[in-house]
Amino acid sequence: MFESIAFYALSALVLTSALAVVLHRNTVHSSLFLGLSLAGVGGLYALLGCDFLFAGQIMVYVSGIAVLVMFVVMLLGRASDLHLRQVNEFWMAALLICTIASAGLYKIAHAFSRSVTGAVATASTDSIGRLFLGEYLVPFELVSLVLLAALLGAVFFSYVDINEALP
């Protein structure tokens, strides 16, 4: 019962704030809603018993990414933007696409209307750790390379060369 209430509440939170992210005129607000939505997703993880994931979600997404985005938004945002429409002329087409796709996704989901949870939620950190250092060792190491590349890129792009900056 609690689970249902929590689920629906969290779902509503996730979806409405997601809608707000994509629809809100003010990009700053959008980024705030993004954090909210991501937090809601974290809540869903918790409901599913994914404790480590929940923690990761809050730490990486809500406190990392969402804040980073907000930071950039504020860096690049301009007051004038608030008066501009933030949705382009494709919205009708996009809506159509999403409507069409939703039918398919609904059908997929519907196939699992009877599958209820079988296992009791247990702490999964242990098995995650084993996977990280066992089967998924190489991906784990590889991710570091990805992050390294991302880092290189980020540095490269945001680096202001003294010589270049001069006129």
Binding site: N88, A93, I97, C98, I100, A101, A103, G104, K107, I108
Partner: protein, 688 residues
Amino acid sequence: MIEHAYLIPLIPLAASFIILFGAKEDPHSPLPWVGIAAMFFSFCLAVSVFWDFAVGTLMLPYQHDWRWFSFANSVAGKSFIDSFKIGVYIDPPTAIVLVVVTLVSLMVQIYSLSYMHGDKRFKRYFAFVSFFTAAMLGLVASSNLLVTFMCWELMGVSSYLLIGFWFEREGPCEAQKKAFMTTKLGDSGLYLALLMIYAKVGSFQFPQMQQFFSSGYMPTTAATVIALGVLFGAIGKSAQFPLFIWLPDAMEGPTPGSALIHAATMVAAGIIVVAKLYFIFLAAPLALETAAWVGLATAFLAATMALVTYDIKRVLAFSTVSQLGFMMCALGVGGYTASLFHLTTHAFFKALLFLGAGSVIHAVHTNDMREMGGLSKKMPITFVTMLIGVLAISGFPFLSGYYSKDMILASVWHHNHTMFWILLFSALMTAFYMSRLLFLTFWGNDRDHDKFHHAHESPALITAPLAVLALFSVIAGYGLARDGFVEKIFPTPVLASASVAVEPPSRVSSPEARMPIESSEYSSPIAHHPVEEAELPHWLALSIIGLILGSMMLAFLFYRGPQFQTAAAIRAALAPLVTVLDRRWFLDDIFLWLVAVCDYIAAAMFWFDTNIVDRIFVDGWGLLMRIFSEVSNFIDWNFIDTAVDGFGGLSNDLGIGLRSLVVDGQVQQYLMYAAIAFSLAATLILAR
């Protein structure tokens, strides 16, 4: 000598090349003598062959073949190497025709020495004449129908060259083209006949073909079709109705050339080929009948046209056409002997007439008879020889034309009385218009003083050939008709027995031929036309002489004075008819119209080619593109109505359509397609 008969055509051929390439062009070149010498040599050869035959020391036919080329052939899934032969086949008619041709050509060349003297293409003319004669001799002497056809075509091209000899003027150019094209039209019939003959017989050797047709293997329908094809060829070449239109125009060429083309050689070739292939006609009664009627129509129509023409050469041209009609008609009614006899005599007197006319033209520098008159005083030799020629062609008793024409009339009389009367009327017209020519030209007073004043008798090089030909015009008829010699020379072929013993056909290629013969379907081996050693009833023969003399008298009455008012009055009275005749029964107009239609069709075809067929490719691609672009437009609701600007002629609808997918270069447009792909995947895959 007979074993060297192959030299008869080859020597003039060689001479023509020597003349053409022997030296630079020179109005006074001595090279034409080479041609004359060559022709004399050929003439001597031909005469010796004929003489040997006439005195009985030589048995004709003579045949000698060489292998020409071999090619693979296949019948019913079996293939083997077949070969064509090239060779001479001389039978009595051939022998005499060779003599006639070489003689006329010799005379024409001698005559031309003077006539063409000083022309800037003097030498070339003789080369053409020699070549032309060579082709004619080859046609006559060949043992292989294919070679005959080749010579036939070569003659066509040399007549083309001769008619257009003075190509700087428009007239000869048009005339030569017309002559070539018209005869070419006829040739296609002969060409098809050749194809059919080969398909049926499998050989082009005359003896083999004769054997095949005589033995009755040939279905009548096939024989008829073949014969009609041959006939069509002859119609073109021998200027029969309705293809005679080219001949009057062909008078644009040098007059001696006309004499050669229209007296002894090219126009006779049609008759000769029909005669050579007479065995086919014998197997095809319908074709024979057609030939007769075509000849009749030609004889009649041409004669009518000659009545109203004032151009001296044109009159002769129509007269030629008319006489050829006589010959064709005679062939059609079975008068083989008569026809070839007339061909022989006609060659002499028509060459004479042409050369005489040339002499006149040479003297007065006009073709229009209305500007002549009274020339007998100035040009006595020409006049006398022309008179002989006119009398001969009119059928004046005991001159050559009398015998041959009489024979033709006789054979027609025995065939069909209606035809006879029409033909007789044509003969009377012949007498009339030839006399008219004579009277207008030589009689009466001079109508054009200036021209008359300058006129003078031609030099000996011109008059001598006239005299020789006049001599032959006089004696040829009697000489040949005496003792039925003509029957010996021109024995009417009959189907029942092959006239010569030849080896059986090496091969009978047509599959039908191997089937048992069903009597109803195949022509019977018995001749349809039993040979009639017929003569006209005496009363008729005599009255014909009278009528001919009468019509000559009539011509005298009409055209005697300097102004020939009588004729003019009659002409005025019959104005519509005269117009019809002047316009040559509108046949020319019909042909011009046909040519125009052809041009129009050609233009339409070309339009079709550039605007329709060509676009199959260009727009084929375009269509492909359009289909794709429709598809992409369907996807792309940001349809951009882009003006199609052709690049490189390739339709670019597809490119435009595809490009419009991304024309804004906006990233979300790109994402859109990815999303569409996603949604399609999500729905379509699951709709299974």
